[in-house]
């Protein structure tokens, strides 16, 4: 069986589905090939889908999309041993300009793919793309386990574990320090109990990121996100740091869930599902070639993720849109060469996403090489606040002196200055 489309998209996640939607609306005959039983069946999101890029595609999407909660409380928790510090920002949720939502991908991706179908895209399920068809360096379709599909152009958006990019020579196999492994559990709790525990109104959600002692030696963090009637709780760390530490992800998960800073939020909840996924963390330096003759790469496959903010799905949507627009233009010109498709690379390069990634290049490597600093700062913060809040007969002046001493004892001043300089240069 050989069928011919203008374009074939590999994977019905946010990147692929967005690109197909844009193409279908632009008159491109496009097929999305998804290996799962349904879109989203193999996908896991950390937690928050930031609204900005999807709102550009579908203004006011939250009125009809299957979302969990509008995140109004973003917080960091710095874990210590039997103590923790929480810093967060909470606001009165605005229904008209939400910042981000918790979502469950098995619901969201399915709905989103249906939107692409309504726009005219063909969705082919339960079909695995095994390689790209190419001749003389030009990609002309995909080989699947159910036959070949020919097309003028292919969008590779198959997710973090992107073997197609490797096979096509668009990138080498990622190194263990360029990928993170994450595990997550869905813990069911009644919605009113979630609202009570987190101090939320109906439809409002919380996002908490955990750093500190539990992750000693790891370039990783934990997370907790409120869904409608469940909590997503989990953690992730670079594969290399997990290998070095010889930690089993599920053992770490149990310790995480038992920590008092997490336990009181999920207490009494019933675990409904355990999940694992990789997160691309190779950053700018780890990205594949984004385009070549007859092929474009988008989403996690393009290593588009931001470990600082937890962005990923929104960047997938952005890249999918830009890839789709590049294909619509290519079809109008009747030319799918590298030269024409390079418009995608330029558009993505001009976006906030890639400018951030460019600036942050090397930050994670620095953290991995100086991984002891995460623990040092976590200890320092907890020790400083403990000192500050305790009343023990010492004057405030004396306490301030003790706090300075504690901080300096955790990490030498020279290194502190170096860390600050790197953070300043890479983030601000």
């Amino acid at each position: 069986m050989t069928e011919k489309f203008d374009a074939v998209v590999v994977g019905a996640g946010p990147a692929g589905t967005t690109s197909a939607m844009v193409m279908a609306k632009g008159g491109v005959n496009v097929a999305i090939v998804e290996r799962g039983e349904f879109p989203g069946s193999k996908n896991v999101i950390g937690g928050v889908l930031y609204a900005h890029t999807l709102n550009q595609m579908m203004p006011g999407f939250w009125k009809e999309a299957p979302l969990e909660r509008n995140v109004v409380w973003h917080s960091y928790c710095i874990m210590g041993r039997g103590e923790h510090t929480m810093v967060g920002y909470k606001h009165e949720g605005s229904a008209d300009s939400p910042n981000g939502f918790t979502v469950l991908r098995s619901k969201f991706d399915r709905w989103y793919a249906r939107k692409a179908e309504e726009a005219g895209a063909t969705l082919i399920l339960k079909t695995n793309v095994t390689e790209l068809l190419s001749s003389g360096g030009k990609v002309y379709g995909v080989k699947t386990d159910r036959g070949d599909l020919e097309s003028d152009v292919v969008v590779v958006s198959e997710g973090a574990n992107t073997m197609l990019c490797e096979k096509a020579g668009l990138m080498g196999k990622p190194r263990p320090d360029q990928m993170a492994v994450a595990v997550r559990e869905i813990v069911a709790l009644p919605s009113d109990k979630i609202q009570e525990r987190f101090g939320l109104k109906e439809n409002e959600g919380a996002a908490i990121h955990y750093l500190g002692s539990l992750f000693r030696g790891l370039v990783g963090f934990g997370f907790l996100y409120t869904n409608r009637d469940s909590i997503s709780v989990g953690l992730g760390a670079t594969v290399s740091s997990m290998m070095k530490a010889h930690v089993r992800p599920y053992d770490l998960m149990e310790r995480f869930k038992e920590d008092p800073s997490v336990e009181h939020f999920i207490r009494g909840g019933l675990v409904k599902e355990y999940q694992a996924h990789m997160i691309p963390e190779g950053g700018y330096g780890g990205m594949p070639r984004l385009y070549a003759d007859g092929v474009l790469v988008a989403g996690d496959s393009a290593m588009l993720s931001n470990p600082i903010t937890g962005e990923g799905a929104d960047l997938a949507i952005l890249s999918g849109r830009l890839a789709g627009e590049a294909v619509v233009r290519a079809r109008r010109l009747g030319d799918y060469s590298t030269r024409t498709l390079s418009a995608y690379g330029r558009a993505l390069g001009d976006s906030f996403a890639l400018r951030d990634m460019k600036k942050q290049a090397g930050l994670l490597k620095y953290v991995e090489e100086n991984v002891e600093m995460v623990d040092a700062y976590s200890e320092a913060v907890n020790a400083a606040l403990k000192e500050w809040f305790s009343v023990d007969g010492a004057t405030r002046e004396e306490k301030a002196r003790r706090i300075r001493g504690t901080v300096i004892s955790k990490r030498p001043l020279g290194k502190v200055l170096m860390d600050l300089w790197v953070i300043w240069r890479k983030l601000l």
Partner: protein, 87 residues
């Protein structure tokens, strides 16, 4: 909660053929045995010098493929493998 209990919650459509191949010769020589630690679904186990691959428990994260150069991991056949209900 034990991992076995967590894995029991998952829905898989199992293919008859494994999508994971290992190089037993390399496995026998391996000192690190990183697959034992890194796999979130405990797919790999050693019995003496031989590795056993419980591919039907695989959740398709692909981490083993990144951690070990001798694991030949492919996507399972379309429509088979893990199917999350709350992904």
């Amino acid at each position: 909660m034990r991992l076995e209990e967590k894995l029991y919650l998952l829905r898989h459509v199992v293919d008859e053929e494994s999508h994971i191949r290992v190089d037993q010769e390399q496995c026998a020589k391996c000192v690190d045995r990183v697959c034992l630690d890194i796999c979130p679904a405990n797919v790999y186990s050693y019995s003496g010098d031989r590795v056993f691959v419980a591919y039907e428990n695989c959740v398709e994260c692909g981490t083993c493929r990144i951690a070990c150069p001798f694991i030949d991991w492919r996507n399972p056949l379309g429509g088979t493998g893990i199917s999350y209900r709350f992904g």
